[in-house]
Amino acid sequence: MTERRITTAAAFRATLARDLLIAYKRKNDIINPFMFFLIVATLFPIGISPDPQRLGEIAAGVLWISALLAAMLSMDNLYRADYEDGSLEQLLLSPHPLYFMVLAKNISHWLVSGLPVVLASPLIAYMLNLPADVYFALFMTLLLGTPVLSLLGSIGVALTVGLGSRGLILAVITLPMSVPVLIAGTMAVQQTLNGAPLTAYLAILGAMLLASITLAPLASAAALRISIN
């Protein structure tokens, strides 16, 4: 049996490819969170003030909160279908460390729901009159921060996937965990606007990303084992 046994790297790739394929086949998984992001970001000028000066001041926060809410909205897709059709059991019974399987699913989730938001952020920033010299700061913080949101959210989904009625419990668990990322992300943009160097904030966000890549999938994996029990 050993000669045909598959390496963990190959199983990781297979899981990543499968999740991306599912997302591609269910296009609303890609489009809905992105549209939600656009709409939420558009509501702020309508609700607060169309005054360019004031919009420019809140633009970074608006973009970050919209990105956070969009990530939340798409979270439930992460394990729900797999839980309902039994694929999750197969994943847990694979001979590979669950850490890598969960990481593959998280990466796929970010590519589908986080990356489009990051790529579109300069456009929304332009709409919200964010000063042009901090576009790069905004883009970089979102690029480093949104994967953290996916990784942390995955823990919440894994904990709640076995519950019959999930409703808002996922948001109640996940949003507080996301606060540090939100603070670091918006601070970075604000401080760069005031002339501070960006690198320190990027280092903090980078550290958050590394910590969550190493630790969050472990927590997700443990939570999945509890949920499937």
Partner: protein, 218 residues
């Protein structure tokens, strides 16, 4: 019948049985499902778990797979605790539960490419051969939500032909199958046992296999 039997590598000589359960007790929602349950499953044996609805058949199978940890007692794989043998155990195990693990959006081919590759390298040729064997030729590119429940069950069962797992744990595999499918699956179980594999199966269906061990939970 391709691939099913000939890939099962001969095990290192062991004295202990493949799977041993010793004094298993399980309590769920303040109700004792079973207690002091002990049995052995050796190579080449088929063990049918019987019991009325709600007697804990599925729970027992999930406990044996390691999906459910709410039990007392010991489960051993060739005489060693499963936790010490996890990689070998999971590489030798094929579990098909009530929820068969077939994604509705993907095609049978895509489903099997993933679920089989969790355990071993697999070629599209082997998958297509197994699908043909299970009467799904022509459906390999249809999304699974267009298939009937029985056909989805067949997609999951095609893994029995592809993965050379030594231990099959099957939870009600006969429920949605037609009579041809039932005969075919029984045949498959027989061949698996003859080639030294073991099967743990729950079903209310009367299995025409011999020898057949029966474990009753009532």
């Amino acid at each position: 019948m391709p691939a099913a039997s000939n890939n099962i590598s001969s095990p290192v000589p062991h004295t202990a049985a493949m799977l041993t359960a010793n004094a298993l007790c399980c309590e769920r929602d303040d109700r004792i499902l079973f207690r002091h349950l002990s049995f052995e499953l050796g190579e080449g044996e088929v063990l049918q778990v019987q019991g009325s609805n709600g007697s804990g058949k599925t729970t027992l199978l999930r406990i044996l797979c390691g999906l459910n940890e709410g039990y007392q007692g010991a489960i051993r794989w060739y005489g060693e605790a499963i936790a010490d043998q996890a990689e070998n155990f999971f590489a030798s195990l094929l579990y098909i539960g009530h929820r068969v693990g077939v994604n509705k959006v993907l095609t049978p081919l895509e489903n099997l490419r993933w679920s089989c590759s969790l355990q071993q390298q697999v070629s599209d040729g082997a998958i297509l051969a197994a699908l043909t064997e299970f009467g799904l030729r022509g459906f390999e590119e249809s999304q699974c939500f267009t298939l009937s429940a029985g056909q989805q069950q067949r997609v999951a069962l095609a893994r029995l032909l592809i993965n050379p797992a030594r231990l099959w744990i099957l939870d009600e595999p006969f429920t949605t199958l037609d009579s041809d499918g039932v005969a075919q699956l029984e045949n498959l179980l027989r061949q698996h046992a003859q080639s030294g594999g073991s099967v743990l199966v729950t079903t209310h269906h009367k299995l025409s296999l011999s020898p057949l061990e029966i474990l009753s939970l009532d």
